[in-house]
Structure formats: structure tokens, C-alpha cells
């Protein structure tokens, strides 16, 4: 045996945690993960990544767990943090014993998943990555996402529905940690109405900065062109419990009008103040989100809204009821996942469909409700689905078991 080999064995004997240091980064990189950081110390292995390849919050995690499970040299407690837009979303802890039990078929996948520690609390783990180099950064990589849009409105006597079908491709890219840019243009394909929908126009055109604060606080500031013909700035704050059963949120927006009239895009001063506070409870057995919101809507009316949304895997179905300005409204919504479950890895530019697509039906579309513009709220994100960026631990665990 040569001297070098003797020295290596001796080194690993005293510092076993260094055995696979740096090797899991390349593994994750081969799987297409981005923003990868890896740390190994006596307390275990720490990995964080961002998943741009697998649809939804869970598939990528399942693949990575299975891939890591077969790594013979992974014998330490492992702390896995999933990032979204460079910010930590959920911590998955796997004990060394669980790796061994699963690897040697002493426990099933369901048991393995059941033993995972899933928590929103990531502060301590993220400190471990301080000073660690990020591999395979997301920044500057562009997704060209093609959003289909459909609107049906039953508000005219000469037609059953005023309908419009659009294609709204958007350039989406991460800028720096927590910052993202969305630039969407709406191309009308077909409609049977006359108005703004006849023109190629700006869709969501936003610059967003998100910050993960200690104690599970999350803040985001979005500036740009939103839905509902608004342009302005939106500030949102949320806090959730470690198990994400409870979430409290508040938002405030200062917006102006952004409309296309007679072929011209016109904007106004940002003069309208809107805001909301809400509380959400996640019921784990039925995978139900129950959310109550008190809101000052865009045009100054005050109201309250109750949403009940059930997660059926990646599909959601929801009901809502609201009252605003003395008028009641209600409806239902659904969102479904779009193909593909696994997308190509990102190079410079990638063309894809959105991960989810949904529709909402609301009963009120005309009369006084439309005249007074009641109950209007804008969106700052082109993906309208509650499954998008949904890292609730109970939900993640249940979905992992199915995969």
C-alpha cells in the first residue's frame, strides 16, 4: 500500500464527513438542479438546490431522495433545503439510520417518507451555507413560458359568451437572490368582442424582489404592470408556522390604471390604494386550504372573502364566497397541471408551458357589480394555481408517498 493511500485512509478515519464532500453537488447538477450549495460537517450533510426541471414542488424532491438513498457513502444525517427564486422554502431532514434502513429495504418508501422531518423552519440550516459557493446558478437563465389564456363572460344579450382566447408568452428569469423578472405580452388569437382584447398588449411586466426574513417571515415587493389593468407597486408580508398549518398575510398596493383604449396604451398616476389581510389554515387530512380575507379592493370598496380549496395531488378545486360594497359574489375555481412532468434542463433559453393552468368562475359579471367595479383584485404572478410554489409540509409528505 502506498503512502498516499495510507494517509487518505487515515484522514477519512478522523474526518468521515468529508468522505463525499462535493460529490452530491455534481449529482444534483447532473439532474438539472440549480443554485446548488453543499456543506459537510460533523453534524451532517447539508444540501440546498432549486429545481427547474420537475413539475411541482415534490417530484424533484422524490427523485433526489431516491438518488441519494442509493449513495452508499451517504451515512450522515442529511439536511435538504429546497429553494425557490434563491430563497429557502422547506427543510427535509433524513437521519442516517433512515438512509440505512431504506437502502437495505428494512423499511418501505412510505415508511421512509413518514420518518422525514419536514418543516418550514430553515433559519439554522441556511446559516450553515454561509460563505459556500453556489454552483450552477439560475441567474440569467431565461424561461420562455407560453401561457394559454381563455376568458368567457356572459354579460351580453347578443351572444352567449363574450369570449377571448389569447397566447401570452412570457420571459421569466431570475436576476439575483430573491429577484425575478417577468415580461409577458398578450397576443389575441380569437375573440367575439370589440375592445382591448383586439390588441397585442402588455401582460404581466414585473420586477419582483423577495426576502426571507428570520422566524418564517417572507416579504416581497413587486413593481410593474399587473392584471386587472393596473400598474404600480405591491408589497406583501407573510408569516407562517413551522408546519405551515397557519399562515398570516398582509399586502398593500399603490396602483394606477393601465389600459389599451382605441389602440393606445395609456397609464395614469398611481393613486389607488388597496390592501388585504388574511389568515389561512391548512387541514392535512383532506388537504384543504381555508382562507379568510378582509380587503380593500382596487376601486375602494371594502369586503371579505372566504376561500376553500382542496388539493387533489397537483390539481386543485376551490369554492369562494365574498361580499363587497354590499353586493355578494361567489364562484369556483380549478387548476390542473400541464405536461410535462419533467422538462429539459435549462441552458441559456428554454421554451416551456406553464406548470399549471387554471380558471375561476365568478357569478357576478355585470349590472351594478361591473358598474361600480366591485371586488377587483390584481394578480402579480402569471401562474394562477395554489399548487405553484406550495411547500406545505403536510402536502409534500402526502404527495411524496404517492410518488
Amino acid at each position: 500500500m502506498q503512502m498516499k493511500q495510507i494517509l487518505l485512509i487515515g484522514f477519512l478515519f478522523f474526518f468521515p464527513w468529508l468522505a463525499g464532500a462535493g460529490s452530491y453537488t455534481s449529482l444534483l447538477r447532473q439532474m438539472g438542479m440549480e443554485n446548488i450549495r453543499e456543506v459537510a460537517d460533523p453534524e451532517g450533510v447539508y444540501l440546498c438546490w432549486e429545481d427547474p426541471v420537475y413539475r411541482g414542488p415534490v417530484r424533484g424532491l422524490a427523485e433526489i431522495l431516491r438518488t441519494l438513498a442509493v449513495q452508499e457513502d451517504l451515512v450522515q444525517d442529511t439536511h435538504l433545503v429546497i429553494l425557490e427564486n434563491g430563497l429557502p422554502q422547506i427543510l427535509v431532514k433524513v437521519s442516517a439510520a433512515d438512509w440505512a434502513d431504506y437502502r437495505e429495504d428494512r423499511i418501505s418508501w412510505a415508511d421512509f417518507v413518514n420518518r422525514l422531518l419536514l418543516t418550514y423552519e430553515t433559519d439554522d440550516v441556511m446559516r450553515r451555507f454561509s460563505g459556500t459557493k453556489t454552483e450552477h446558478r439560475s441567474a440569467g437563465r431565461v424561461d420562455f413560458v407560453v401561457y394559454p389564456q381563455l376568458q368567457l363572460r356572459n354579460s351580453w344579450l347578443d351572444k352567449i359568451y363574450g369570449a377571448s382566447v389569447n397566447i401570452a408568452p412570457a420571459v421569466e428569469m431570475q436576476l439575483w437572490k430573491g429577484a425575478s423578472f417577468t415580461g409577458q405580452v398578450i397576443f389575441p388569437i380569437w375573440n367575439n368582442m370589440v375592445g382591448e382584447m383586439d390588441y397585442i398588449r402588455a401582460g404581466l411586466l414585473t420586477l419582483r424582489q423577495e426576502i426571507r426574513l428570520p422566524k418564517r417571515w417572507m416579504a416581497s415587493l413587486t413593481v410593474g404592470n399587473f392584471t386587472q389593468q393596473r400598474i404600480g407597486a405591491d408589497l406583501q408580508l407573510t408569516w407562517r408556522t413551522a408546519n405551515d398549518r397557519w399562515l398570516l398575510g398582509a399586502r398593500g398596493g399603490l396602483t394606477g390604471a393601465s389600459v389599451v383604449q382605441e389602440g393606445r396604451w395609456q397609464v395614469s398616476r398611481w393613486e389607488r390604494l388597496s390592501g388585504a389581510v388574511w389568515g389561512r389554515y391548512f387541514e392535512p387530512h383532506y388537504q384543504l386550504e381555508l382562507e379568510l380575507t378582509a380587503e380593500r379592493y382596487i376601486y375602494g370598496d371594502y369586503g371579505a372573502r372566504f376561500d376553500c380549496v382542496r388539493h387533489f395531488g397537483e390539481t386543485t378545486v376551490g369554492l369562494f364566497a365574498m361580499v363587497s360594497g354590499g353586493e355578494a359574489n361567489g364562484g369556483f375555481s380549478f387548476s390542473v397541471p400541464l405536461p410535462r412532468k419533467k422538462r429539459m434542463q435549462r441552458k441559456a433559453v428554454r421554451i416551456r408551458l406553464p406548470e399549471y393552468w387554471g380558471l375561476t368562475y365568478e357569478a357576478q359579471s355585470g349590472n351594478e357589480y361591473a358598474e361600480r367595479r366591485l371586488g377587483r383584485r390584481y394578480q402579480t404572478d402569471p401562474v394562477v394555481s395554489r399548487t405553484n410554489r406550495f411547500y406545505n409540509p403536510d402536502y409534500v409528505r402526502k404527495q411524496l408517498m404517492r410518488l
Binding site: L150, G183, V194, G224, Q261, E262
Partner: protein, 403 residues
């Protein structure tokens, strides 16, 4: 390279969003609601003024203070405004004036044709001389003045003209306007009205009518001269005189024919607009069928000469009921501009109003009274109905929204 691209995107977005701060427009300026106006089509009277089948230009047609002058085609249009009863008079220097009382309605063009006759020159009636005065236009009526009819030399004239006597149930073979109006005669003036049919066929119960305050009333009976076969009677003063039989008009059957509709599309625009409206209107009347065939059917064995002559006489009776010669023409009626609300498409549907009724008169044929009914089809003008379609800014009811 990615860093520079990233920076460029961020700068561009910050610049564009900051530019919106510099917009000095109020939100109300940008998000205006479509201007609402009333689309109102007034009541109109239109038609032609003819003289012996040819258009008569420069005729003044008046309804109160509303006047119009016929063009080179003899066409005129009166914008009456609101619904109601009006008296329409057509007059021109040197012509016998004609008038008719009609009822107009909004969103309708009432068709009203006139036939004017140039007044014949007067001749001198001397106290000590007799005078035979034959009407020059149709040569149907002749007046015989005895000596001493007047106490001083008097300029007299008679002019055959067309009246509108349907409401008075008069089937007039001849209608004359005599001047000086109101002239009294010391001696009865003999009237002779030509009869061109054979002795087998004549009108029984010919009467002499006089117009009083716009209504034709029976003045006296006329007889058939056994020597000449013509209809004869007497008068003792000058006025408007008619010679004919009682004519019964049956109930009118109203029908419609679709005309060309017009669309004015102001959808997608906020401001109301005023648009010119030109509508095609049919004027006139015609016998609904072949008059000679109708006569041959009613009068079995009638000679061709008699059938032809009777057809001509029945035509005269109908023209003196309807106020114009038999002909149907099309007129492009230019209406006042109508207002269309913002974000609205207005369709003006035109329907030609047609009525059919029968004139029944009694003739003596081979010593037996026979009733002849002649169906007459009249184009009464058009009615217009405005329907609306709205653009995306103008919902009409609340039926729900999916999107």
C-alpha cells in the same frame, strides 16, 4: 455576459416603470366609461311631387313651419320630429295646391306623393254671351255657361287636378278646380263629363261633389245624357268640384318587406358619434293584379274596348283617392344624423310598410248593377328599428365570468 443582460433588463424595467410616475393623467381620464346618448330617429314624411307622370322640381312642401323644396327628381323630405298629426301641403306658383292630413310616428318615414296640376289660363265670361269651357288637361269635363250667368265680365278657369279622397269614400272620375273660387252664377252652369264606354256599361248613381273644409260632400246627382251618353249635371257656384260615384274601401291588410339594414359600429371607442343615415323608401301605389283581367272576370262578356276604358276610369278613381298617379318608385331619403353611444354597434333595420285594400264601385252592365272590387297595393313608407350590440366595456347583464 449574463450579468450585463440581467442588468440591462432590470434597468429597462426600472426606467419604464419610473416613467409611469411621470404620467400626469388622472385615472378617470384613462379609464373613461363609454359616452351614453339616446339614439333617436325622428318622424319623417317623404315622397315625390309629379306633374302628369313627370317629376316637378322647386315645389314647396310644408308641414307647418317645416318646409322642403323638391329636387330635380321631384323628391322631398320633411323632418317632422315627434309623432303626431300634421297637414302636409305642396304648392308652387301657377299650380293647384294639394294637401293631406297624415299621422306620423317616430322611427318612421311616411311616404306621401303629390300630383300637381298647372292652373289653366282663364277666359272671359261675358254677361250677354254663352261660353263652353273645356278642361284642357284631360279633356274630361266641360262646363256650359248660359248668357246672363254673370252680371259683369268675369275671368273664369277650370283645372283638372288630383285629389286625395279615399276617406270620403268618393270614386271621382274628374276633379276640377274652378276660379274665381266662390263665384255665384245667375244661371245654372251645365256640367258634362265624358263617358267613353258603350251603352252597355256606365256608372250608375254618378254624383256631383263639392269640397268643404277638406271634405268632399255630395252636392247633387248626375244623370246620363240620352243623346251623348255623357254624365251631366249642374252647378251654381265655383269651388272645387268632383264628379264620381260612391267607392267603398275595404279594411287594409298591412304587410312588410325587409329593406336594407345599416350598421354603425362604434364599439371599442369611448366617444359617442353622429352618423348620417340614408334609407331607401318605396313610394306610390299600384293595382295588385291586372286590372283588365279583374274587369273581365267581374263583367262576363264585356268588350275589349269597354274593359280598357273602364280600366282607365277605375284608375282615375283610385288616383283621386290616393292623391297620385299609379307608379312605384324608390327614393333615397337622407335623414338627420343619429347619435350612437360609445362602445356600441347600432343596426338600423328597415321594413317597407305595405298595405293592401280594395276599392269597390258599382257599375251598370247590360242593365244590371255589378260590383267591381279592385285591390290596391300602397307603399306607405318605412319603419326603422334600432338594435344594439355592445363592446367589452358595456356589459348588459350579469351572467358570470370564467377566466
Amino acid at each position: 455576459m449574463n450579468k450585463y443582460l440581467t442588468g440591462a433588463f432590470a434597468f429597462a424595467l426600472l426606467l419604464s416603470t419610473s416613467l409611469s410616475f411621470t404620467s400626469c393623467k388622472d385615472e378617470d381620464e384613462v379609464t373613461q366609461t363609454p359616452e351614453q346618448v339616446e339614439t333617436k330617429i325622428e318622424a319623417y314624411v317623404s315622397g315625390r311631387v309629379m306633374e302628369m307622370g313627370k317629376p316637378l322640381a322647386d315645389v314647396t312642401v310644408a308641414a307647418g313651419e317645416i318646409t322642403s323644396t323638391t329636387d330635380s327628381e321631384g323628391n322631398y323630405t320633411l323632418a317632422i320630429g315627434s309623432a303626431g298629426d300634421v297637414t302636409v301641403t305642396a304648392y308652387k306658383d301657377g299650380y293647384v295646391a294639394a294637401s293631406s292630413q297624415v299621422t306620423v310616428a317616430e322611427s318612421e318615414i311616411l311616404s306621401l306623393d303629390f300630383e300637381l296640376t298647372q292652373q289653366n289660363e282663364s277666359v272671359t265670361l261675358s254677361p250677354d254671351a254663352e261660353l263652353v269651357l273645356e278642361e284642357k288637361r284631360d279633356e274630361f269635363t266641360t262646363l256650359f255657361f248660359q248668357p246672363q250667368s254673370v252680371t259683369a265680365a268675369t275671368e273664369v278657369s277650370i283645372t283638372e287636378y288630383i285629389t286625395r279622397a279615399e276617406k270620403d269614400n268618393m270614386g271621382a272620375l274628374s276633379v276640377i278646380y274652378c276660379t274665381p273660387d266662390g263665384q255665384q252664377f245667375e244661371q245654372p252652369v251645365k256640367i258634362q263629363v265624358v263617358r267613353n264606354t258603350s251603352s252597355d256599361l256606365y256608372f250608375a248613381n254618378m254624383k256631383h261633389y263639392v269640397e268643404e273644409n277638406g271634405t268632399w260632400k255630395v252636392e247633387s246627382d248626375m244623370t246620363v245624357d240620352p243623346e251623348t251618353g255623357d254624365y251631366v249635371g249642374e252647378l251654381d257656384h265655383f269651388s272645387s268640384h268632383a264628379f264620381g260615384v260612391e267607392a267603398q274601401w275595404g279594411a287594409k291588410t298591412a304587410t312588410t318587406e325587409d329593406g336594407a339594414s345599416q350598421e354603425f359600429d362604434n364599439r371599442g371607442k369611448l366617444d359617442a358619434v353622429k352618423v348620417p343615415l340614408t334609407v331607401e323608401s318605396k313610394n306610390g301605389w299600384e293595382v295588385d293584379g291586372d286590372l283588365a283581367s279583374i274587369i273581365r272576370t267581374a263583367l262576363s262578356g264585356v268588350s275589349e274596348a269597354d274593359a280598357t276604358e273602364l280600366a282607365s276610369e277605375l284608375n282615375r278613381m283610385i288616383r283621386n283617392a290616393k292623391g297620385s298617379e299609379s307608379s312605384v318608385s324608390t327614393q333615397q331619403v337622407k335623414l338627420n344624423e343619429i347619435s350612437i353611444s360609445g362602445d356600441t354597434k347600432a343596426t338600423v333595420a328597415v321594413q317597407h310598410k305595405i298595405s293592401t285594400s280594395s276599392m269597390t264601385v258599382s257599375v251598370m252592365f247590360k242593365g244590371q248593377p255589378v260590383s267591381i272590387s279592385v285591390p290596391v297595393k300602397v307603399y306607405n313608407g318605412v319603419s326603422m328599428k334600432v338594435s344594439y350590440e355592445y363592446g367589452s366595456l358595456t356589459p348588459e347583464h350579469s351572467g358570470g365570468n370564467i377566466g
